[in-house]
């Protein structure tokens, strides 16, 4: 069984981004970049399937600038066998990325495609669902458990009302949530070894695809900031403020 895993290079989750003064976007110069945290979890899951003998090969794919090679090398250091970088400068959108992934899933004859549930930069939460639609296959989003048995993948999904367990016929698309696993750290020898693992580069045009964005970003703004209020010394004072000042209880 072959697994394709999608990884996006994004601003590090611990970095506090700033909106550019002129409203043209978010400041991305000299900003710490990292693998999207959900994608680290997807990579970890794929590698565990490989280690358990369930998967024969794990291939990581990223659509992004030349620098996204770092993200793919990280995936290779974590145990992925091979990587594909689809080079694209500028913004990517879920629809375009889904088209690229569909083309590669077909070419690679992948049985399972793992993605993060959401990229923490655009917070779109779309790519996996779009990919499943384009492939004409089943999808299981927000996975906190994945088991493979023959031609079926059983997924526990985190949904608004609790948990739902679904069975999908392979090939299928699964997007992972935070509680699926805790990703490992790459050890130094693995990082060294990753440098010599295969990494192919191609462009969307070579796949016959056009990644021009469909949405036009007119402006990017700072959200309204909340001001800190007052400190209260006691519970009695707090209750008094909530009753008589804020009038919320």
């Amino acid at each position: 069984m072959k697994i394709l895993v999608a990884v996006k290079r994004v601003v590090d989750a611990n970095f506090r981004i700033r909106v550019k003064r002129d409203g043209s976007g978010v400041e991305l110069d000299n900003v710490k970049m990292a693998m999207n945290p959900f994608d680290e979890i997807a990579v970890e899951q794929a590698v565990r399937f490989k280690e358990a003998g369930v998967a024969s090969e794990v291939v990581a794919v990223s659509v992004g600038p030349a620098k996204a090679e770092d993200t793919l090398r990280q995936a290779l250091a974590l145990g992925v066998d091979r990587a594909i970088l689809v080079q694209h400068e500028g913004r990517t959108e879920p629809l375009g990325v889904a088209k690229v992934l569909r083309a590669l899933a077909e070419r690679e004859a992948a049985d399972l495609v793992l993605l993060g549930k959401q990229a923490i930069d655009d917070d779109a939460n779309q790519t996996g669902q779009m990919l499943a639609a384009l492939m004409g296959r089943g999808q299981a989003t927000f996975a906190s458990g994945i088991e493979i048995a023959g031609e079926t993948v059983r997924v526990t999904r985190e949904v608004d009302g609790g948990l739902r367990v679904v069975d999908l016929t392979l090939p299928a698309v699964v997007t992972v949530d935070l509680r699926l696993n805790t990703p490992r750290f790459a050890a130094l020898p693995a990082i060294m070894k990753a440098r010599s693992k295969p990494l192919a580069k191609l462009t969307a045009a070579e796949l016959g695809l056009d990644l021009s964005p469909r949405l036009t970003v007119l402006r990017t703004e700072e959200p309204p900031q909340r001001q800190a209020g007052v400190m209260v010394a006691t519970v009695t004072e707090l209750v008094d403020k909530l009753r008589h000042e804020a009038k919320v209880i």
Binding site: A13, I17, P94, L95, V165, R214, L218, R219, T234, I249
Partner: protein
């Protein structure tokens, strides 16, 4: 062209987020039809027909829609899509699951998590965990968007729109529901509650989380929320997580107890009208946006607070 709103429901009751998403759908300036797809969901359809501004309710009452699976629902929406200029849903776990599938089949880019409709093609949406807001224009032939319900007021009641049955679409049969482990709770629903009391890692155990927060929630008739750390540690169920990757809430009052205030948590609650923070660390970031801050130990302060509020109202 008419707008189609996908209703959120559990086959029995209509989720209040539908009425909030309706306000966003109406802001597109076109007539609105509401699709209620499920099994035995006639009551939810009647409820949907009662909201002002709804022109028609489409009812697809079929076993295949009962489990809320994305594949058959997307097929149905695609069957109906020709008659509509826009397809809208609340950004619930169902809306997020189904709508991108529909968008891809229509070859359009979805606009996710809309917080304001600026015009029929122009929308505001948060990015980077709400640390920036993007104003985007969709140039696609059809609009597909999910709506952050907490950003919109509920459409008022006062209507009895016609309810029309629609034929079921094909079911690709790719996914089967094996088990529904919905969590039953006697607390108000997190996204609908007027008051939310939320707990973090500081509670140390599920037993202490329940013992300290439950009486407080009862005294305030509040919903219970949690940080990711509290959910990861098993103190609270996953559907109580508030934040960038959990639920987005905007109650009148949010009481954060033993929560540090990481940006991912703030993303889910910073639009609350009044925020209270109780934390033993005076430099915890949560105090920077709390209206009222109280420094101290939750293990002594929360029982004190519950007692001070008096019996449940």
């Amino acid at each position: 062209m008419t707008t189609l709103l996908l209703a959120e429901h559990d086959n029995t009751t209509l989720d209040p987020q539908t009425a909030q998403a309706l306000t966003a759908a109406l802001a597109l300036g076109q007539p609105v039809h509401v699709l209620v797809a499920g099994t035995g969901c006639g009551g939810a359809a009647t409820a949907a027909a009662g909201f002002a501004g709804v022109e028609r309710v489409l009812l697809a009452d079929e076993a295949r829609y009962g489990a809320g699976l994305a594949e058959p629902l997307a097929s149905l929406l695609i069957d109906l899509a020709a008659g509509y200029g826009a397809i809208v849903a609340a950004a619930t776990s169902t809306g997020k699951d189904v709508l991108p599938r529909v968008a891809a089949l229509l070859d359009v880019m979805q606009v996710s998590d809309v917080i304001a409709v600026e015009g029929p093609e122009t929308f505001r949406r948060p990015i980077y965990a709400g640390n920036a807001v993007e104003i985007v224009r969709s140039g696609d032939a059809k609009l597909v968007m999910t709506v952050r319900a907490s950003a919109f007021a509920a459409a008022p009641a006062g209507n009895a729109a016609e309810i029309v049955a629609v034929a079921a679409a094909g079911d690709p049969g790719l996914v089967r529901l094996i088990e529904d482990r919905s969590v039953a709770s006697d607390r108000p629903e997190l996204t609908a509650a007027r008051i939310v009391v939320s707990g973090g890692r500081a509670f140390g155990s599920k037993a202490q989380f329940d013992a300290l927060l439950m009486p407080l929630a009862v005294a305030l008739n509040a919903a219970i929320g949690a940080s990711r750390a509290a959910v990861d540690a098993g103190y609270a169920a996953n559907d109580l997580q508030v934040g960038q990757t959990g639920k987005i809430v905007a109650p009148d009052l949010y009481i954060a107890c033993g929560i540090s205030g990481a940006i991912q948590h703030l993303a889910g609650m910073k639009d609350a009208k009044v925020i209270v923070a109780i934390n033993s660390d005076p430099s915890a970031p949560i105090f920077q946006l709390a209206n009222y801050g109280l420094v101290g130990d939750i293990f002594t302060l929360l029982p004190e607070l519950t007692a001070a509020l008096g019996p449940a109202r």
